[in-house]
Symmetry: C2
Subunit: 378 residues, 2 copies
């Protein structure tokens, strides 16, 4: 098994590196003092350190369920299982469905494709457009696989978002074929215009909806969840139990206490949306100024800008950039069967405006040089 390019890169960068590579939230926006106060409260009681239940801390499950219900997707604590990040949620589900076939987006989330490999699922990639997956190709693929993994909101790596029409089409196909949807939604709260309806809400009995606190609160807590019908959720408990008994109980209790003040949490996510939207605008402005050749769709939320740099191979670009202290991820990393090598993914949430300017200036210089070399060679 090979490691993720992104995580290996991340582990070899220094404090000086300008990183457009990872999906790192902006540390300046972490509510660490509020979480500190919650930790203070929770750790006054020794019981917060004892073993917990496999499905997860009930008060926290209640709060997550409530969040769905107020948005019109009726949910109870019985529909929620807490996991060690959405990453583990994906492992549990794909481990249960090992050796099956699965329809995925092309490109897709690298960490998911690695898990599907590990759990020996046969991956069937279908092209993702800027308005959602290719519907006829999806219908054909899904009729064979009966299982699909989709990221409809501000997808990783592309930043693309499904239209409401495509959401309904996908839901109809899954319903007709009596299959299952795994909907990964770590970025759904990071919308710039408005919140999208999840496809899972159209398919309550046939969907696993994966959520995460990593992008909206704090990655180090490693807390995510699965929302699903009890009938398909309960068989997963034995897997979760075998894998790590239960997720970190201290963090669950701290998070639960923090979420008790719903007004504060709503203000926090509103602030994140505002700040990330601003950051994206800055990134876009600099991109258009410094790297006008870059072809991309402006994202409506999330953490990534994805696009094409015509006329070069990004493999060469990534190496030169790393030497000059700038990292990003070449698009080919996100394809199950890499075909093209002229796309790149850029994270816009982690760097300051100054770093973005500096990093893009370096990238633009390398790009121009590469294009000239390629022209001469041709």
């Amino acid at each position: 098994m090979k490691r993720s390019f992104i995580r290996e890169i991340l582990e070899h960068t220094t404090n000086e590196t300008i990183s457009f590579a990872g999906g790192l939230p902006d540390e300046k926006l972490f509510p660490h003092l509020a979480l500190r106060a919650s930790a203070q409260h929770v750790l006054s009681d020794a019981r917060s350190l004892q073993y917990g239940t496999t499905q997860g801390y009930l008060p926290l499950r209640n709060k997550i369920a409530h969040h769905y219900t107020v948005e019109g997707f009726e949910t109870t604590a019985e529909n929620i299982m807490i996991t060690s990040g959405a990453q583990q949620a994906l492992d549990i589900i794909s481990r249960y469905h090992h050796h099956e076939a699965i329809t995925i987006e092309a490109p897709s989330y690298l960490g998911a494709m690695n898990l599907f490999d590990l759990n020996q699922l046969e991956q069937h990639p279908v092209t993702l457009y800027s308005d959602g997956i290719d519907i006829p190709a999806f219908e054909k693929s899904f009729s064979q696989t009966k299982l699909t993994y989709l990221i409809p909101d501000f997808q990783n790596p592309t930043g693309y978002t499904y239209t409401q029409e495509k959401r309904e089409q996908v839901a109809r196909i899954i319903k007709e074929q009596q299959g299952l949807l795994i909907e990964d939604a770590p970025y759904s709260e990071l919308y710039f215009k408005g919140k999208n309806q999840s496809i899972s809400a159209l398919l309550p009995q046939q969907s696993f909806h994966l959520g995460s606190f990593s992008k909206v609160l704090a990655p180090s807590l490693r807390l995510g969840w699965i929302r699903a019908d009890q009938k398909i959720l309960e068989p997963l408990f034995a897997y979760k139990e075998a894998m790590d008994l239960h997720s970190n109980g201290l963090s669950q209790a701290i998070l639960d206490h923090y979420l008790t003040d719903q007004h504060r949490y709503r203000s926090h996510t509103a602030l994140l949306r505002k700040m990330y939207s601003k950051k994206m605008q800055v990134f876009k402005t600099y991109l258009n100024e410094l790297l006008p050749a870059f072809e991309y769709t402006v994202p409506e939320g999330g953490m990534f800008i994805y696009g094409k740099l015509p006329g070069i191979s990004t493999s060469a670009l990534v190496e030169s950039a790393l030497k000059q202290g700038v990292v990003f991820v070449p698009g080919r990393e996100f394809y199950h069967n890499p075909e093209r090598d002229d796309e790149i993914r850029l994270n816009f949430t982690n760097c300051s405006a100054k770093e973005v300017y500096k990093g893009l200036t370096i990238l633009a210089k390398i790009y121009k040089k590469e294009v000239q070399i390629n022209k001469k060679a041709a």
Copy 2:
């Protein structure tokens, strides 16, 4: 996949239940105020909430490595990977070694056997005696499997401990056969007489030594580790990364800060040993008084007393006891191929002396009744 009897039982007990079932530490001994102070310190810095590295927080790995080195088992941070409890450590290793054969103790830790099933390892049980595994049978089995899972200190479920002689015999066999040892050591610090040498220390290149903070500090942190030679440790990083990216970073930082005061940590584990030794003595006294028919070996550490109740089937006992508010685990749960049904495992760390007396009184009454019924039937 079926769930663990113990965890299902734990989830269905109330505050009133007297539980000899789980391996629960005594909550009264959790150092929650010290950990609260560490949380206070760590959460003053927002960076404690960011993503971390897959192998684990370097300062914490350094401290764990140092602990081995001062005990004469030379270790660096490169030999340590932090995991979400020793449970996940076992999952990672057995996932890497999926479809292989493995020699295990009979009886053995239920959570390990479940993982070996999940990862499709062929389990070869070898009888465990009160002084360690049956050496000739182990040698024969290991020559075929080349991989073994052992718990030499205060084993779960039996409380048995390997003699130094048997440790050396096991190490010799593994060395000769050029195989691998998985040594699970969650209870090793909970010794009443003195600390045992790990078998891994005799086999630095051919062993995974699994440690955990669950039994000596706090289970809810879900933090454990693997100590191994870099050559066999590094291939596991890709698995860990796919499974949950990395273990809870906040808890790693809190724990690291707590461990900075080594004197305090040593005092804490010394206190645990003293208190658990006392608790075991109380349990033993009540057992001998109330249930003199119980045949067992007095443990030299750990959390469990294991033994035989002649003349009955524990299946009947467990049901009647549950109805009267007392839970424990029948020994057959710990066998890969259950043969006998007259053994039980009793945890002595969790209940107060009063609860132990009450619980054992109830068990003794049910036992006497069962024996009489069985006599009449015979």
